[in-house]
Symmetry: C2
Subunit: 151 residues, 2 copies
DNA sequence: CGAATATAGTTAGCTTAGCTAAGGAAGAGC
DNA sequence: GCTCTTCCTTAGCTAAGCTAACTATATTCG
């Protein structure tokens, strides 16, 4: 069995933490997906849509980078959202290669509706936690996001 | 920030927290998936495998429930793991309908190897955090898991 | 006992998300 | 102008998730 990894021997505590975060993320997402499905949009699309809505018009490349996804994946996500009337594609005036993605009113509306719906279930659970625990979770989310953006 | 949570009218703060957890979970998983792919196993399989390894032999139904997944999904995950020699299916002696899933040595080995690999990347990032912050993340993982198991 | 029902898993068929490889089309450099 | 790069799309694959429908075994009950 693996005893001492030659490297800097990553704290056993970090191994367990990685496992728990992994498991927690999987289970949280499976749970949220069910709610988002009922809202009529998938988790991946909702995540991309929120970037479009909140970060204003963005190019396909920026959006793929923001979502840490390969370009073809974003092409498909945007195609689906466009078909559903949630976003709009516009050509760039100067550079014929780039495509700008704008949120349409329906997309903005749906994003907010989905937020409401997610919170309807999550908030009940979150309300069971002490305020300090919610604060803790918010901080944790921040750390996790920062981890993801490092690499 | 948090005043008195009156149940109804879900605190705007809870809405934002739900969003951030959602986004953080998506991005963390996308990140971890890449590492797990290199280890030769997907996130979903790894999660199921860890149940089999740590919670001893389990039936298909127990496994699907533990992973909060529909039975056919687990059938497919187990089929893949069996094909890869990670787990073994055994008939129940008394009840001809149930199937027990046992971990095979290769599966146990692979699980631990994947843990090592995940931590190799995550631990570097986690090491950049203060010990208190790691403690915070561990607590957060606990809360998130508890949320997931409530419904 | 035997028929009806309930339970455990599987098969079939669909949607979605992710990837790589390859290509088109527009810009940039020499 | 020709090459090279950049931005995005198309094509084609794997995998995870679902529901509906099926098989096979247990169980219940008339």
């Amino acid at each position: 069995m693996p005893r001492n990894p030659p490297r800097q021997d990553p704290l056993p505590e970090a191994v367990e933490l990685a496992d728990r975060l992994h498991s927690a993320a999987i289970h949280l997402l499976r749970r949220l997906r069910k709610q988002d499905d009922r809202a009529g949009i998938s988790a991946a699309r909702l995540s991309a849509l929120s970037v479009v809505v909140f970060a204003g018009p963005v190019t396909m490349g920026q959006l793929a980078a923001a979502e840490q996804v390969a370009p073809p994946t974003m092409t498909r996500l945007v195609a689906a959202m466009e078909r559903d009337g949630l976003v709009e594609r516009r050509a760039d005036a100067d550079d014929g290669r780039v495509v700008w993605i704008h949120a349409r009113p329906k997309g903005t509306r749906l994003l907010h509706a989905a937020r409401e719906r997610r919170v309807a279930t999550l908030a009940t659970d979150l309300a069971a936690l002490a305020p300090a625990e919610r604060t803790l979770l918010a901080a944790a989310a921040g750390f996790i996001e920062r981890l993801g953006s490092e690499s």
